[in-house]
């Protein structure tokens, strides 16, 4: 069966520090991968998605970037965190066909 792993679960980082959040999927190949940010009262905002290795689409301009170095690995990064980067980040995957997305447990990022 397919599983999605996202880590760390919580993270506290100082302003200006770098960020690296990892997401891996097991049990499937060539998944579509996604990074969402969830904020209270604002739902889930799609940040990045990838349909293949090295292919990244950005939905909103911001201080973050994403990379997909391997088929089932998706990384969310920042060179210098801002206070406004605090939030709950969710990784998700879906198959290429019209199916639902499956979500990881999320990472609570607090920038101090």
């Amino acid at each position: 069966s397919q599983t999605i792993h996202q880590w760390p679960a919580t993270l506290v980082q100082p302003v200006g520090s770098p960020l690296s959040l990892e997401c891996t999927v097991e049990g499937t190949s060539n998944p579509n991968l996604y990074w969402y940010r969830q904020a209270a009262g604002r739902g889930l905002q799609l940040l990045f998605y990838s349909v293949g290795i090295g292919q990244i689409s950005s939905e909103v301009p911001q201080n973050l970037s994403a990379s997909r170095p391997q088929d089932r690995q998706f990384i969310l990064s920042s060179k210098k965190l801002l206070l406004s980067d605090s939030g709950f980040y969710l990784c998700a995957w879906k198959s290429g066909s019209n199916t639902e997305a499956f979500f990881g447990q999320g990472t609570r990022l607090t920038v101090v």
């Binding site: 579509n32 996604y34 969402y36 009262g41 604002r42 739902g43 889930l44 799609l46 998605y49 349909v51 939905e59 969710l90 998700a92 879906k94 290429g96 066909s97 019209n98 639902e100 997305a101 499956f102 979500f103 990881g104 447990q105 999320g106």
Partner: protein, 113 residues
């Protein structure tokens, strides 16, 4: 781009009350629709989905949703809620090309015992 509107941000009900959460989407073509639920401390999980066929979709835990194309709606219903239904509920639409999901802002449901 498609958009999804959820009418209520917070809903408070007593146990055994009936539930209906509103969801409207903007896309006029063929749509694939979802309701996701996030229980406290848990990850987001699928409640039910509509792709085609019978517009009345039944999901897990007694939930159902009805796709009404003329109203661009996909409202979630449950005849009798339980305390364990306390959670945040998100409506979502699959965008054309089937690559991304657009979510509503969510509805926080609190069921009091």
């Amino acid at each position: 781009a498609q958009s999804v509107s959820q009418h209520n941000h917070h809903v408070i009900l007593s146990e055994a009350a009936s539930l209906e959460l509103g969801c409207n989407y903007s896309y006029g073509g063929t749509v694939n629709l979802f309701w996701y639920v996030q229980y406290p401390g848990q990850h987001l999980q699928l409640l039910l989905k509509y792709f085609s066929g019978d517009p009345l979709v039944k999901g897990i835990k007694g939930f159902e949703a009805e796709f009404i194309k003329s109203k661009f709606s996909f409202n979630l219903r449950k005849p009798s809620v339980q305390w364990s239904d306390t959670a945040e509920y998100f409506c979502a639409v699959l965008n054309s090309g089937y690559s991304t999901l657009t979510f509503g802002k969510g509805t926080m449901l609190l069921v009091s015992p």
